[in-house]
Symmetry: C2
Subunit: 302 residues, 2 copies
């Protein structure tokens, strides 16, 4: 009998298994040292969206963290495909993970001695902000007590699980009645939030931070869409004070695309209504998702 994959599926050691059975040993350095490179590609309407961009970034993250999982890019692409196909999920959050593993030489504390390994998992699509809140316009808290981990401590471009700064910020946000949080860097510039990049619109120009952030694929898509809309795009340091002069704010995430924001701290945008640039870009994003050039179709069984 085929296993029940309705809650999600995982790919481990060449096998597709139910997500509930996908586990990691408690001594794996992936956990005890948060020593992981990972990525997440969205599955939308039965296809991976911009799969190659996500795979490129995952391969780069593995190289940056010196992970060797013994699989080619093609092997990984096949694993993701076979897992999602078997799951039957047509809209999914599909994670690929390179884990440091444990030392192959007992007692070693040398990360070069570890047996790195790959696994993947897919669950029904995750929204970083629930769709009803997005349509109404989301609220974002600026963390007061937690600064983004600097790039010279942990490289944010190698996608990783170091979320302690985000988690403390999320507690602050939720305690204050906000949906999510954005963190400042140590120079007082905006960086990013848990699972998203941030954009500010001022007149005919959109701004998004250049450094200290993940180079999001959804961020890239949003920059391309904004350019196509005839807006000027500026990727540069964005000081906190720019929030005071911005007309609109939106977030980008593979967990929801382009997400309009109507409130950042005490600042209200568009009288509390999602802005025209964000709403137009959001609409275009969901059109792009259906374009064959960006889609890698999944061959579901049956």
């Amino acid at each position: 009998m085929a296993p029940d994959l309705s809650e999600g599926a995982a790919w481990m050691k060449g096998k597709v298994i139910p997500i509930s059975e996908a586990t990691l040993g408690v001594t794996d350095w992936a956990l005890t040292h948060s020593d992981v490179a990972y990525d997440v590609v969205p599955v939308v309407q039965g296809a991976f969206f911009r799969r190659d961009a996500y795979l490129d970034r995952f391969m780069a993250s593995m190289a940056a963290t010196r992970m060797d999982v013994g699989l080619t890019r093609g092997d990984i692409a096949r694993a993701l495909h076979d897992m999602v196909a078997a799951s039957g999920l047509r809209d999914a959050y599909c994670a690929m993970v390179a884990a440091r593993g444990t030392p192959l030489i007992p007692g070693s504390r040398d990360p070069r001695d570890c047996g790195n390994h790959f696994y993947a998992w897919a669950v029904p699509y995750i929204h970083v902000i629930t769709p009803d809140r997005v349509e109404a316009g989301a609220s974002v808290w600026v963390a007061q007590h937690s600064r983004r981990i600097p790039a010279d401590s942990v490289n944010p471009r190698a996608k990783n699980y170091h979320w302690g700064d985000f988690t403390q910020g999320l507690f602050e946000a939720k305690d204050n009645g906000f949906e999510t949080v954005v963190l400042l860097d140590h120079a007082g510039n905006l960086t990013e939030g848990p699972g998203f990049n941030i954009f500010l619109v001022e007149g005919n120009t959109v701004f998004t931070p250049d450094t200290g952030v993940l180079e999001g694929i959804s961020r890239r898509t949003a920059l391309e869409i904004c350019a196509e809309m005839g807006l000027r795009t500026r990727v540069e340091p964005v000081p906190l004070s720019r929030l005071d002069t911005a007309d609109e704010v939106f977030l980008t995430s593979s967990g929801g695309g382009i997400l309009p924001v109507t409130k950042v701290g005490e600042r209200i945008y568009g009288n509390g209504t999602p802005g025209p640039v964000a709403m137009a870009a959001r609409k275009t994003y969901w059109q792009w998702v259906t374009q064959p050039a960006y889609r890698t179709e999944i061959a579901y069984p049956g």
Copy 2:
């Protein structure tokens, strides 16, 4: 038949199981957000060493990270005891972990919605530096490309698994032929390394960094031993340049006690021989370990 616990044991959901069967789901925020508070108490010659100090710190780390695992301090103490007793290990590395878990409300991204849980595991004693290297005098690399994660990003006093900065530093150290690594903060002061605090001896005074570091129990023991030896102890910012004027350097860790260092980068101490303060303090450390006042004896079966 009793399970084989010779490789180590774990305590999960009230049961003692072999370490090889102790696993965590791949979607647990403990892993995906490195959202964990933990601690490690050493078991030496059949007893926990300074157990109450470790339990105090673990309880404080859980409070700081807002973990509620539904167990009292006494429950946790009992779990650790029963696990180590069942394992038969007389010298062990005994970890206790509070994990964020997963949201009890499906789709929630709110850390307050997660079902926190506790587990523990014990394996044969781990040395942060192998004993033969310690007796010869260990070598420490000062990381060039990786700064310690600042305290206002992730609080180092709440013991956590955010080791990305250490891991990158360890790669540097190992590539350069050193045993381990120490990281600087963003002001250029010494902080700590993967699993240890650092001490410098200059004349009659020992220095150890005050902020941006874990307040190690072994660090506390070393400060107490140094005071007893008639040395002046100064807990304050320690600039990198103090390495140039220091007579001796040593590390402290529950994975080895007091560890003499003979080389830091290109600097050689004591003509490459462990220094007298470090060796005397090391000897005293292993005497203290046998003192009943510091020991919580384990009642092994049979």
